[in-house]
C-alpha cells in the first residue's frame, strides 16, 4: 500500500516519538496545572509540580481522571482555555442525566482533523474517494469528527448523518460511494435492507468501512466482509479524549494503532491501578498530549484491552492495542450512545416517584441493537384501565429518552418475575450475540 504523506508521523523513529511525547506531556501538564483547579488541587495534594515530570514514566506520579470528574465539574470546570479561544463544544451522555461537555480550540480541531485524516489514510483512503458519513452530526463527536478528517484528506464527503436506511442505500449506490463511516451494527442493517431493495452490496465500489462507536467482534467483521465488497476497519475514540480518531486499524486489521504522538497510552490493572506488563489485559488509560481547551490527564476509559509492543507488518511505529471487547463498568453502548443503568433508574424514578424492580435487556434484532426495559408492576401504579397503563408506558419511554437520548421499549411485567440477586442488583441483561 502506498504511504499517504499525512501518515508520516505514524512511522516516526521510536526515539523521536518518545521525545515528542515527553515534550508535549510536560507542556500539557503545565497548562493543566496553571488553568484547571481540579488538576492543580490534586497535584498539590501530592506535592507534585509540573517540573517533576521529567520522563514519560513520571506520568505515573500524576493522579487519574475519571468520568465522574467531568460530571462534577459540569459544564466547563475542566476547561483550560478561556471561552474566546474555544471554537467548539460537544457533549455526550453522562451518568446522571447531565451530559459531559468537551471543548476544542482551533488547534485542538486541527489535531483532531489530522488524526482523522491519518485514520482514513491508514484504511487506504485518499483524494477521489467518496465517503458516506453516516455518523450522527450534532453534539455527538462522530459526525463532525469524521467529516473534517475526510474533507481535509481531499475526499468527497456525503454528510448524510444517521438514519433513513433507504436513502442511505440509494445514495450509496447512485453516488458510487467508496467508503462509509457508521456503527458496525448499522452497516449490517444496511446489508440486510439492501437485499430487499435489490442492491447487491458485493457489486458496489465500496472498499472501506470505518466502523466504531460501539464494541464489535471478529464474527461481525467476517459477516460484513463476506456480504459486501468492503474491508471493515475498527476505529477507536472517545469524546473525553478527542472523539473518534484516537486509534485505527491499518490494512492488516490486527489491532488499533494509537496516534501516540498525541495520546499517551497506559494499561493498568483496574483493581490495583498499577501498570500491567505489555501484552497483558487491563484498562486503557489515556493522557492527551496536545489538547489545549480540555487537557485530560490519565483518563480511565474503562475499556479493557492490551498493548501489543511488537511492530506491525505495516511498518507503523505507533503501537497497537487489542480491539475493545468489553468495559470494566456497567456502562453499555447502544447505537453509539453511552448509557448507564443509573440513567434508566433516574428516568423510572422521575415518573413513578418510587423505584420499581426493573431490568434492562439488550438484544440484537436484524443486527440492530434493541433495548427493552422491563418494569415490574406495583400496586402503586397499577390500574384497572388499559389506557392508564399504556400512558404510563409512554411516559417511561419518554423519560428514558429525555435522559439517555435513546428510544427504548418499556414492557410492564408481573411482580416478582425479575430475578433478584444477592448484593448488587443485576440491572443489565446483555443478550446480544457478538
Amino acid at each position: 500500500m502506498n504511504r499517504h504523506p499525512i501518515s508520516a508521523p505514524d512511522f516516526m523513529q521510536q526515539a523521536a516519538l518518545r521525545d515528542t511525547q515527553l515534550s508535549r506531556l510536560r507542556q500539557m501538564v503545565g497548562r493543566a496545572y496553571d488553568n484547571v483547579t481540579l488538576f492543580r488541587q490534586r497535584m498539590d495534594a501530592r506535592s507534585l509540580k509540573p517540573a517533576d515530570i521529567r520522563s514519560l514514566a513520571d506520568v505515573r506520579k500524576l493522579p487519574f481522571t475519571v468520568k465522574a470528574d467531568l460530571r462534577d465539574t459540569y459544564p466547563f470546570g475542566l476547561f483550560a482555555s478561556p471561552m474566546k479561544d474555544i471554537v467548539r463544544l460537544h457533549a455526550s451522555s453522562g451518568t446522571t442525566g447531565k451530559p459531559i461537555v468537551v471543548a476544542y480550540t482551533k488547534d485542538d480541531i486541527r489535531v483532531w482533523t489530522e488524526t482523522m485524516m491519518r485514520s482514513f489514510a491508514a484504511c487506504g483512503l485518499h483524494e477521489g474517494d467518496i465517503i458516506q458519513n453516516a455518523y450522527g452530526y450534532g453534539l455527538f463527536t462522530g459526525g463532525l469528527g469524521a467529516h473534517y478528517g475526510a474533507e481535509s484528506l481531499g475526499a468527497t464527503v456525503i454528510p448524510i448523518s444517521g438514519g433513513n436506511t433507504e436513502r442511505q442505500l440509494m445514495v450509496m449506490k447512485d453516488f458510487g460511494v467508496t467508503a462509509i463511516c457508521c456503527t458496525p451494527s448499522y452497516f449490517l442493517h444496511l446489508i440486510d435492507q439492501s437485499q430487499q431493495m435489490g442492491i447487491d452490496m458485493k457489486k458496489l465500489p465500496l472498499r472501506a468501512g470505518i466502523f466504531g462507536a460501539e464494541p464489535w467482534t471478529e464474527g461481525m467483521r467476517e459477516r460484513i466482509e463476506a456480504e459486501s465488497s468492503l474491508k471493515a476497519y475498527d476505529i477507536y475514540g472517545l469524546s473525553e479524549i478527542i472523539g473518534p480518531g484516537v486509534g485505527i486499524e491499518c490494512e492488516h486489521q490486527c489491532g488499533l494503532h494509537i496516534f501516540e504522538d498525541y495520546f499517551l497510552v497506559e494499561i493498568i490493572d483496574p483493581q490495583t491501578l498499577e501498570p500491567v506488563p505489555d501484552g497483558q489485559e487491563g484498562e486503557l488509560v489515556l493522557t492527551t498530549l496536545s489538547k489545549h481547551a480540555m487537557p485530560m490527564i490519565r483518563y480511565r476509559t474503562r475499556d479493557i484491552t492490551a498493548l501489543y509492543p511488537e511492530p506491525c507488518h505495516c511498518g507503523r511505529t505507533i503501537r497497537r492495542i487489542r480491539r475493545i471487547g468489553r468495559r470494566s463498568d456497567d456502562m453499555f453502548i447502544i447505537r453509539g450512545v453511552n448509557v448507564f443503568p443509573s440513567q434508566i433508574e433516574a428516568a423510572l424514578l422521575r415518573v413513578e416517584g418510587t423505584l420499581p424492580h426493573y431490568v434492562i435487556v439488550l438484544t440484537r434484532e436484524q443486527d440492530l441493537d434493541q433495548v427493552e426495559v422491563q418494569v415490574e408492576v406495583t400496586p402503586d401504579f397499577f390500574s384497572d384501565e388499559v389506557r392508564v397503563l399504556e400512558e404510563l408506558q409512554k411516559k417511561l419511554v419518554h423519560s428514558i429518552e429525555s435522559i439517555t437520548g435513546i428510544r427504548v421499549a418499556v414492557r410492564l411485567v408481573a411482580p416478582k418475575t425479575i430475578q433478584r440477586s444477592e448484593g448488587k442488583a443485576k440491572r443489565l441483561l446483555d443478550k446480544r450475540k457478538m
Partner: protein
Amino acid sequence: MKLQQLSVFLENAPGQLQLPIDALAKAGINIVTLSLADTEQFGILRLIVEDPQKAQAVLEKVGCVVKVTDVLAIEVADQPGGLSHILNVVGKAGLNIEYMYAFTEKRSGKGLLVFRFSDSDAAIAALQTAN
C-alpha cells in the same frame, strides 16, 4: 348498585391466568363473572367475586398485583332496547364509559351490566334522575 371489582395484572403469555384463578379455587371463592382486557403486552383480569376482601388477600398472598375499584352494576330487562335506553341516559349526561361487560344473574335471570365510569357517583345521579 355499586360493586367492588378486583383487577389483576397479567402478562400476555401462556399460563398467566392460571395463578389467580387457582388461588381463588383453593380458597373456595366463587367467581360471579369476569372479563379480560388485553393488549399486545399485558392483560387486566377484572373479577366480580362473592367475597372481594378475602379474594384480595388471597390474590396478594400469591403475589398478584390487585386493585379494588367501584363499578356500577345495572339491572336491565333481558329484551331488545334494554342497553340502548341506558346508553342514551349516559350519553346525554356526558359520562364516559371506560369499559363495560355483562352477565346474567342466575337467581333472577335478569341481565346485569357492569359499567366502569370515570365518575361513578355522577353516573348514579344521572341514572336515578332519568328513572
